[in-house]
Symmetry: C2
Subunit: 463 residues, 2 copies
């Protein structure tokens, strides 16, 4: 009996395989002449196909020559090594059996398709080389994130997605409800009676797990979330989706320098993991999507990230010989043009900007002694812009209470968050990485819709 093998096993075997083998996979292409035919077979175990050579003496040779793309076949044969050919081996088929039918009108014929078209067949696009590569890399990057953090004793915490908190100004939220919209319960004043909703109050989908995960850092020291977050913004850019994944590490007894050290280490570790686990996929994307990809990632791994204060960065931008669309002055929230100029033109590598004006940052960031800035940091990377945002958290109870007032937030709603300080004012810090932005950075794909299996954007929730 032939030995069952996968394409990946054949490509990675230490020694030549001499016994008969059996492979099951999908037909990618078939061409057959009178005497001999060739099938490109893929079985999902590898981006690479294997070539099946079939001689015309196979009993069903004529039918095999007409198999539609994506037919499932089982091949028995021998491995013939071809050291001089572009492919290191091929399979000489002793038998080929069609085990699963496919229709003739397969929508992914061999020619190139636009990304726009492929989004309309999101259930089939993983069968293309590009999306095979993107989604394999997405998976490997996710695992590399877990591995880096777990190796350092970070505890993975699944913070809730349904929340009764507001968004701390981070963005618009989606309402979650079981009320019958065609028959809403009303209170005496004619307003919707939220107390009759599933959770007996108004609930929404979270924009961040940071605040709830802080409570775990104050017990388990180093923790992280890695899960979905949501923004109900009517945004149609290539960098925003309504549903996306965030990585949010949070560390007790840690300051802004620790944020930079850990996030830099994490990003480099992810890229190194991809270099050793996704060579084929990175090479394919470099050849077909972004020819700067491998060079950019190599630089990212090899160079120390730059570190500069916001205030110094403003100086650099003001002295730059560039006509920015938005004028630069201390206090502004930097635009993509400014961020990209810094990372792509000035430093030519990722750069941390620290100590932003307090007025443009969130209430929970720790006030610096200058009373103008907070201990915040953003990492700006070439091509993408902001990839990481972090801060030291305001751990001083009285200062935090004042900031909650200054930001017009409800002290009642944040009482539990103040409690974390009331029962232990502990220095702590954390950061967030938009996982899809990271995947864009490591694949060279420039539209967020093409790194998400089934993207959700305004007007789009198909499949």
């Amino acid at each position: 009996m032939a030995k069952q093998v996968t394409v990946k096993e054949l490509y990675t075997a230490d020694t030549e395989v001499t016994e008969p083998v059996e492979l099951t996979g999908w037909v990618k292409t078939v061409r057959a002449s009178k005497n001999v035919g060739f099938v490109e077979l893929n079985d999902g175990s590898s981006l690479k196909n294997v070539q099946i050579v079939m001689k015309s003496d196979l009993p069903n040779y004529e039918a095999l020559g007409k198999m539609p793309i994506s037919t499932t076949i089982t091949v028995e044969g021998t491995v013939a090594y071809t050291p001089k050919a572009p492919q290191p081996f091929e399979i000489h088929a002793a038998s080929i059996k069609e085990v699963g039918h496919s229709d003739n009108d397969y929508p992914l014929q061999k020619k190139k398709h636009s990304y726009e078209y492929l989004r309309t067949i999101a259930h089939l696009r993983p069968r293309t080389n590009t999306f095979y590569s993107v989604f394999k890399i997405r998976s490997l990057a996710a695992f590399a994130v877990h591995q880096y953090l777990q190796d350092r004793d970070f505890v993975y915490v699944n913070t809730p997605l349904i929340t009764s908190s507001d968004s701390e100004g981070a963005g618009e939220m989606f309402r979650v409800t079981t009320l019958d919209l065609n028959n809403l319960p009303k209170d005496e004043e004619g307003h919707v009676d939220d107390t009759q909703d599933f959770f007996k109050k108004e609930t929404n989908l979270t924009v961040s797990g940071q605040l709830p995960v802080e409570s775990f850092a104050l017990a388990l020291r180093n923790v992280y979330t890695f899960g979905p977050t949501f923004r109900a913004e009517n945004s149609h850019t290539t960098r925003h989706a309504s549903e996306f994944w965030m990585i949010e590490p949070e560390m007790a007894f840690a300051d802004l320098k620790d944020v930079m050290d850990v996030s830099e280490g994490l990003l480099k570790s992810v890229i190194r993991y991809l270099f050793s686990h996704a060579q084929d996929e990175l090479q394919f994307l470099n050849d077909n999507v972004d020819d700067q990809l491998i060079e950019r990632l190599t630089t990212t791994v090899n160079e120390e990230f730059a570190r500069v204060t916001y205030t110094d960065a403003i100086d650099i931008l003001q002295q730059a010989d560039v006509d920015f669309e938005e004028p630069v002055e201390w206090g502004i929230d930097l635009d993509a043009e400014h961020e990209r100029y810094l990372s792509e033109q000035v430093y030519k590598k990722p750069v941390f900007l620290t100590d932003y004006p307090k007025d443009i940052k969130a209430f929970y960031m720790r006030d610096n002694a200058d009373e103008k800035t907070v201990a915040a940091v953003d990492l700006l990377v070439p091509e993408i812009g902001e990839l990481v945002g972090g801060s030291q958290r305001e751990e001083r109870e009285a200062v935090l209470a004042q900031k909650i007032q200054d930001f017009n937030l409800s002290e009642d709603e944040y009482q539990w968050y103040l409690d974390l300080r009331k029962y232990g004012e502990t220095e702590h810090s954390g950061f967030g990485i938009g996982f899809e932005r990271l995947v864009m950075y490591v694949t060279g794909i420039d539209n967020i819709r093409d790194v998400i299996p089934y993207p959700r954007t305004p007007g789009n929730a198909e499949f």
Copy 2:
């Protein structure tokens, strides 16, 4: 200068630490007499505390003796090894500095608190030994799941949470909307105009990623989801939550036997990982929560899981000398009492039940040749009941189309799912594991609310 260390580093050091050390952590208890005082310090790196011995000649000795629980302190001192004492070492303090205040009315004083009370302070309960252990084990179990699957080339796929599909009868769903409930747009007939909602149609929170992830198995071979799912059911049991995490592996070229092999391998691998990475936490839970825990997990790892058909299991139940509340006959959906009898009394270990009546299983499960059953499998485990549910998927396009009709589902809505067969009828199979049930199994905790950081159940969405 003293060397900064963590408690974990001290407990796991290969050789005795002789240089001066500096530790920062939280005060768990303090007691001080005239001449000497003791602080139990925890820094989150370990479930274990370290004892700090302070002599009365410390300049702030009197104040230190009155420190509230959860004060953050930095200790400099030397490690004194105490091989004959229960604790292998203690720290003789040269200085202790209070670096973070805590209030005197800390709600977690040393006495035992009920789980119910601790749920009301979910932001503080990770600071207890029980919840420290539970959430550390939850994290390690999650990583062990990823590691097992990634080691076998399974590709992690983040299927969408916001969906426009229905739930295939799996349960009630939460509506996701940005419509203003107090000012709903109406169509000409007076119904809510869903086309004006964010996604231009009605959307809900998913109950399962299985269907969308199947499309990836048919390209990437072995894939899995691991993410949140939702049920809007008014269920108040100890085993149901409104938001919970599911692990859903899906494999191309795989049948029901593969489902059993992989899920058994996965569960055993997770438990082995915990045995080697969470000894302290498992021992604590065994001593304080469930004294059968380690024995049960050891059996699970060492014994081959039993495998029996549903039909044979019905025979066994009918012949059992037990008065079940629900009478047993072929065709019923087994109740918890039946499931637990099989795993706890008959097999005394996890047992796979296979080939269920088609009428009680989902439309996508593959019809067996007997025309009465489907290639479905549930894993029943002691104490928990159903832990895994899986099936071979119906890959025959015509059969699946008929089943969609028989189940009164919309062929339009499932056209993309039929497409997966139209363009490749490939044998494939998968399973789902409720992650919280797994965490309950490996911690001995018997209420799902106590294995979720911030549990969501009807009427509860706090923090």
